[in-house]
């Protein structure tokens, strides 16, 4: 019976084996396996032509060339973001109008039932608004961005990105595969944390985990896109507006990558010292993806994902925000009280108390930061009717927003602590409270420092 076997027998066995094993065991094993594979192939495989191989090499010479590699990557990123912004605008507005129209009927319905005000407030103004906001703002860009991303991925372009970025990450003391996990982060940081398992060395894996948050995820793209189109491209119209919006968003992404590399570099010189390990990255063949399948699958998957998030996270957060915004302590609501308390610190970062509070309440998911902020503002003002996305800017401007506020909110969103799900995954993967805390505190410190600096500089030069 195994149960009677004391555990140290395993240890003993391993020691015995180690005493026997020659120093180059691994080498001997690997070379025996390689020889066996080669012998089998020699007898079973025959080659006819090599024409196809050349075609792929030609493509790779362009996509991964020193001269063209980076410009092509940048162009691809810009085009993807441009298409996303240009395509998402109209459906987003349509969805928002539709939900506003529906809200009128819901309100009417509650009135005919003679439902109490608080119930209408909680369900319609809280739960319903929070949920529909997330759907109308998130769904269209995601339904465009992810199919395009999936097409590039299935075609085999992503490993080329990793290949191009490899040198930069190596210089930063990190692992080249970090660029792959970073690319995953554009979709979802929580999933990207899991994908860092492909990095063998614990040190480099930790670098990838700690810096993954610096690329905008699913939940943050819409914040970046919306704010840059409302404030950065305000003076442009038509195609130019989309172009300027896209450029600002691309700039944000590039800044995120620069921060990723800088933080990796600093960490690899201090807390996580070491030399990057050597690795071979396989460049898979380019494969023409099943275009229609890929588009349908990526769209459906993302839609289901966004809708799920909307129901699971945004609905309760919307209800909670409404409650906080409507329970009074003395003259002010709890929400206003909290916002006022945060205000002085937030002002130093070029934000305001409501924005900072929205980030704090938005810890469970980045998707809900904007809706919370928007509802927080609504609970203070006289304005209660929001007609689509047009009146949004007015709400922001009424609360003293300038381009600097928008820029700082975008920067804070890009750099601040990861969402709750991501933090849970970091804890699961590192099994360390200390590192999970670092993963929370480090980006937050960066976000505070950067927004503080931009505010200080902008005020110094009297730009605002």
């Amino acid at each position: 019976m195994h149960a009677t076997v004391p555990q140290n027998r395993f240890k003993e066995l391993l020691n015995e084996a180690q005493a026997l094993a020659p120093a180059d065991t691994r080498e001997q094993i690997v070379s025996a396996i390689f020889r066996a594979s080669q012998a089998i192939c020699d007898e079973t495989v025959t080659y006819e032509t090599q024409a196809k191989q050349y075609e792929m090499e030609k493509l790779d010479r362009i996509f991964t060339s020193k001269l063209w590699g980076f410009p092509i990557m940048l162009a691809m990123l810009a085009v993807v973001i441009y298409i996303t912004i240009a395509g998402a605008n109209i459906p987003s507005n349509m969805l928002a109008s539709f939900f506003t129209w529906l809200e009128g009927y819901l309100t009417l319905f509650f009135q005919t039932l003679h439902a109490p005000d608080w119930l209408h407030g909680l369900i319609v103004l809280g739960l319903y608004r929070g949920t529909t906001w997330v759907i109308s703002v998130m769904l269209p860009p995601m339904a465009i961005f992810f199919p395009i991303f999936a097409l590039l991925e299935n075609y085999g372009y992503l490993p080329r990105v990793a290949f191009n970025m490899d040198r930069l990450f190596k210089k930063a003391g990190a692992h080249g595969k970090q660029s792959l996990t970073m690319a995953m982060g554009f979709g979802c940081n929580a999933a990207a944390i899991m994908s860092t398992r492909i990095i063998e060395s614990p040190r480099e894996r930790m670098l990838a985990i700690l810096t993954n948050n610096f690329v905008p995820c699913n939940g943050r793209w819409p914040t970046l896109i919306l704010l840059s189109s409302l404030f950065m491209a305000a003076n442009y119209t038509g195609g130019w507006k989309t172009f300027v919006t896209a450029s600002v968003v691309v700039g944000m992404v590039l800044f995120g990558i620069v921060v990723t590399l800088s933080v990796s570099w600093v960490l690899s010189k201090t807390a996580l010292r070491g030399i990057p390990t050597h690795y071979t990255l396989e460049l898979p063949p380019y494969r023409r993806p099943k275009i229609w399948d890929t588009i349908v699958r990526a769209t459906l998957d993302k839609s289901v994902y966004v809708l799920k998030r909307a129901v699971v996270v945004a609905a309760p957060a919307g209800a909670l925000t409404w409650v906080l915004g409507n329970i009074h302590i003395g003259d002010t609501t709890i929400l206003a009280y909290l916002a006022n308390w945060l205000d002085p610190f937030a002002k130093a970062l070029g934000l305001d108390g409501y924005i900072l509070m929205a980030f704090i309440l938005g810890l469970p998911a980045n998707e809900i930061v904007l809706p919370i902020l928007f509802m927080g503002y609504l609970s203070t003002g006289s304005l209660t009717e929001v007609d689509g996305l047009h009146s949004l800017k007015q709400i922001f401007v009424d609360h003293g927003w300038t381009w600097l506020t928008a820029l700082n909110m975008m920067l804070f969103s890009l750099l601040h602590y990861p969402c709750g799900t991501t933090l849970i995954n970091i804890y699961k993967e590192t099994k360390s409270r200390k590192w999970t805390f670092v993963a929370f505190a480090l980006p937050t410190a960066v976000a505070i420092a950067v927004t503080f600096l931009t505010t200080y500089i902008a005020r110094w030069f009297s730009l605002v």
Binding site: A21, I33, P284
Partner: protein
Amino acid sequence: MTTNEYTVALAGNPNTGKSTLFNVLTGLSQHTGNWPGKTVVYAEGFFTYNHNRYKMVDLPGTYSLYSNSADEEVARNFIIFGKPDVTIVVLDATALERNLNLALQVLEMTSSVIVCLNLMDEAKKKGIRIDAGKLAEKLGVPVVPISARNKEGIDALLKTIDAMVCGKIKTKPIVVRYSPEIEQCMEKLIPRVKEVIGDAYPARWVALRLLDGDMSLLHAFYKLFPSKKEATVYACDGSAKSI
């Protein structure tokens, strides 16, 4: 008519189309991507064929099973401790030699293996001809050429899986011969391995891993055996659930 449930594991190098095959067989839509390292945790799905129900497990794609990284460990542990009824090793027909390294490693761990030559369409375009019959003969296990993307060869694969779980296929996996030095060490170790961990695990493979100093395998055994001890204790109490 009885319905049995069997477990089928999918192993293979990254980017050989495991997830595509998984989706074709299970009808699920697990996300597939053309880059190494996409599947880091394994996905599960089900399908039914010839009155049998199959649980399909899509393992992370790895180049080896020496547990260099967390995903290699996941794949290795499932093959050894999950004891799937069939392990399908998916090979990229356009890069057979490199892919075979993993197949040889799997064949050291279990004999219920079907080798699946995927991307046959692409290999054909590139002018690569593979003699599947001869390959099967060399490896000592069935070899099924398929193109998962175009859903070709899937039926033959299902038939082979069915025949294997019914015990109609006798496999005789190739045994990789190591250097005389390593072989001598293994000869000494194998009886000791059998003594300590019993016959439930492939002794030659365990001996090889121990020679390689595989600590993570040791930890996996640590974790496994105390739980057996608990099970026996409960059995003595008479309050045991059958496991």
